[in-house]
Symmetry: C2
Subunit: 345 residues, 2 copies
C-alpha cells in the first residue's frame, strides 16, 4: 500500500477545489491561475503528497520504469552493467526493475511477461544461454514494447544493441597466448546458440589460423549451462587434460567460466601458467589477487549499461516510430597478468 495516505482528493476537499483543479495545478496546467497553483503546491508539499504511481500508470499507460533481465546478478559483469543502467535511468527519472533468468529460457519468458504486465516502458535484456527462440520478444516488440539488447543479443530482432567487440577481444587474447609461445590453445565457451559465443569463437579461430594453426574441435568445449554448473566445467577440463596432446593454454569465453576453470585447475593441482596458461573474459574485481593473478579480457560493463539505457530512453521518448537501429560496439581491454605469461626457463 501507499502509506503516505494523502491523495489528490484530500487536497481538493481541504482547499475547496475540485479534484481536477488540483490535478491540473499539480501538473502546472495553463488552465489554472498562479494563485491556485501556489496554494495547491504549498499544501501538497507541506503534507508531503506523493502521487500514486499505480493510479498514474493505470491512467497514462506508462510507468516511468524499465525492466532488466540478466542471467544472474551474482556476476560482477552484470552487476556492473546494472550500476550503469541505474545511473542513467535515475538521472532521467526512471526506475528499474531487475530480474534474473538464471540461464533458463522459461524463467526468461516468465520474467519478461511479468515485467510487461507491470507496465514497463522499455526492456533491457541479455539473453539466457538456453534461449534460441526469441518469439516472446518479437511479439512484444510488435506490440510496441521498446527493447534494447546488450551483451547477448539476438540477430533476428531489429533494434538497438550494445555489445563489445567480442571478435577482437577473443582475437587479442588468443593472439597474446600465441605471441607468448603457446601452441595448443583450448577454448571453453558456452552454448553455441549465443551471439557472444560465436563471435568470440571466430576471433579465437582467426588468431589461430593467422598463426597457421588449424582449429581442432577437440580443443573446444561448449558448456551449455555456462555459468550455472560447475560440474560441466570440471568435465570439460578433465576431457581437455585427457587429450593425447594436452593443451598448454586455455582461453575461456565467459566470466563465470573463467573463474570456474581456474577453480577446477586448482583442484586438479595444475600449475598455472607452467602447465597450462589461462586467460579469459571476466570483470571480476579480484583478478589481481587471484592465484595466479588472472589475465583477462575486460568489458566496459558500466558503460554498456549506461549506453544501453540511453538508447532505450531515446526510443521511449521518441515522438515518431524509430526504424533505424544502431548497434554500438565498445572496445574490450586486454589485461595481462601472470596466468598467461610463459615462465622464464
Amino acid at each position: 500500500m501507499n502509506f503516505d495516505a494523502i491523495t489528490i482528493r484530500d487536497i481538493a476537499r481541504e482547499l475547496n477545489l475540485s479534484v481536477s483543479t488540483v490535478s491540473k495545478a499539480l501538473r502546472d496546467s495553463y488552465e489554472i491561475s498562479e494563485k491556485t497553483k501556489k496554494l495547491v503546491l504549498e499544501y501538497a508539499r507541506e503534507n508531503n503528497y506523493r502521487p500514486n504511481p499505480m493510479a498514474q500508470s493505470l491512467k497514462k499507460g506508462h510507468s516511468k520504469s524499465i525492466g532488466i533481465v540478466v542471467s544472474s546478478i551474482d556476476n560482477q559483469f552484470f552487476s556492473q552493467v546494472i550500476n550503469g543502467i541505474e545511473s542513467q535511468a535515475y538521472s532521467q527519472g526512471y526506475n528499474v526493475i531487475i530480474t534474473q533468468s538464471h540461464e533458463s529460457y522459461d524463467l526468461e519468458v516468465q520474467n519478461v511477461n511479468h515485467l510487461t504486465q507491470w507496465a514497463i516502458d522499455g526492456l533491457l535484456i541479455s539473453l539466457s544461454t538456453e534461449t534460441n527462440n526469441v518469439e516472446h520478444l518479437k511479439k512484444l516488440q510488435d506490440q510496441g514494447l521498446h527493447i534494447v539488447f546488450f551483451d547477448r543479443i539476438s540477430n533476428v530482432i531489429d533494434t538497438h544493441k550494445v555489445i563489445v567487440d567480442n571478435f577482437k577481444g577473443a582475437y587479442d587474447a588468443t593472439r597474446h597466448l600465441l605471441d607468448s609461445g603457446y601452441r595448443h590453445i583450448a577454448h571453453i565457451t558456452s552454448s553455441a546458440t549465443t551471439s557472444v559465443t560465436n563471435e568470440r569463437l571466430a576471433g579465437y579461430q582467426q588468431a589461430l589460423s593467422e598463426s597457421g594453426l588449424a582449429m581442432d574441435e577437440n580443443y573446444i568445449k561448449y558448456c551449455q549451462q555456462g555459468a550455472l554448473n560447475l560440474n560441466e566445467i570440471e568435465q570439460a577440463v578433465d576431457e581437455l587434460l585427457a587429450l593425447a596432446i594436452k593443451p598448454d593454454a586455455i582461453f575461456t569465453a565467459w566470466d563465470r567460466i573463467t573463474t570456474s576453470t581456474l577453480s577446477t585447475l586448482h583442484k586438479l593441482d595444475v600449475k598455472i601458467p607452467e602447465e597450462i596458461a589461462l586467460i579469459g573474459f571476466t570483470n571480476t574485481l579480484l583478478a589481481d589477487i587471484l592465484n595466479p593473478s588472472l589475465s583477462s579480457v575486460h568489458q566496459p560493463a558500466f558503460e554498456i549499461g549506461r549506453k544501453a539505457t540511453e538508447m532505450l530512453l531515446s526510443l521511449i521518448n521518441s515522438k515518431r516510430p524509430v526504424t533505424e537501429f544502431e548497434t554500438i560496439i565498445l572496445p574490450t581491454e586486454l589485461l595481462i597478468r601472470n596466468s598467461s605469461v610463459k615462465p622464464v626457463l
Copy 2:
C-alpha cells in the same frame, strides 16, 4: 504498458456477460455457476488474458510484491541473500523489487520511499553504513508497513530480524588467529554505527581478552565508507603498517573490506601470511583461488534471505497484528585456508 491488451471487459463483451461476472468467475466465486466459470476460464486461457497488476493493486491496496534494499548487489553476500529471497518469494507468488543504497543514507531513504509508493506489501532491508537514524522506517512501520531486517539491523525498531552470530563468527576468527600463534591482531571494520560492526568487534575483543591480550585502539580501523572506498582501506592498512609494532595478522569484518585489504596488501608486496596473516568475513566464491587462498568467516547468505522472506510473508499474511517479534541468529562457518596458517619455519 501492458501489451497483452485483452481485459476483463473484452471477455465480458465477447461472452455476453457483465464485467463483474467475469471477474468473479476468474476469482472462482461461489456466486457463479460452474458452467459460466468454465466458459470464462477457457476463453481467458485461450486469449491469454492476464490481469493488470496495476489495476489490481490500485483496487486491493496490495501488490504481491516485496521491496529489497541492500547496499550493493555487486557483492556476493548480498546477491546470494537476494537469491534466497527470490526463491522464497516466488514460491509464494510474490515478486521482488531490488534497490541499492550504495551505503548512502539519502539513497536509502529515497529507495524506501519509492518502494512504498509502489505499494510493496513488505520491506526487506539491510541498513546502509551511513544510516544512524531510522525514523524513516519507524514512521512507515507505524503506518502499517511490514519490515524485516537482515544483516545490518536496527535495535530501535521492533520487528523480525535475521542475522548471523556475528559475535561468535568474529570470536572464532580471532581465536583461530590466536591459536595459530599470532599476537598482534589488527581489526579493520566499518562504521561503528552499524549493528554488525559492534557485534563483531565484541567477539574480536572477547577472544583477545581471553588470551590475556589488551585491546589496542591503534589496531582497530573504522572505515566509514566500508565497501565503497578503496582509498580508505589503503590508508587504514598504511597506518597499521606504520605502527611501532606492526600487526602480524588482520581480521577484517566485512565482505568488501576483506577483499580490498587483500588487494592492498598485494600492492604493498606484503607476504601473506608470512608477514601478515589475514582472515575476514566474506562470501566470495573465489576464496579458494585467491592468492593466498583466503581464510574466511562465511555466512549462510541464501538461508538468511530465505528465512527473512519467510518471516516477512508470515507478517504480511497474518490475520491479527503481530506484536511478538523474533530475531533469528544463524551460525557462521569458519573456513580456514592458507591466508591465516602460520608458515612452518
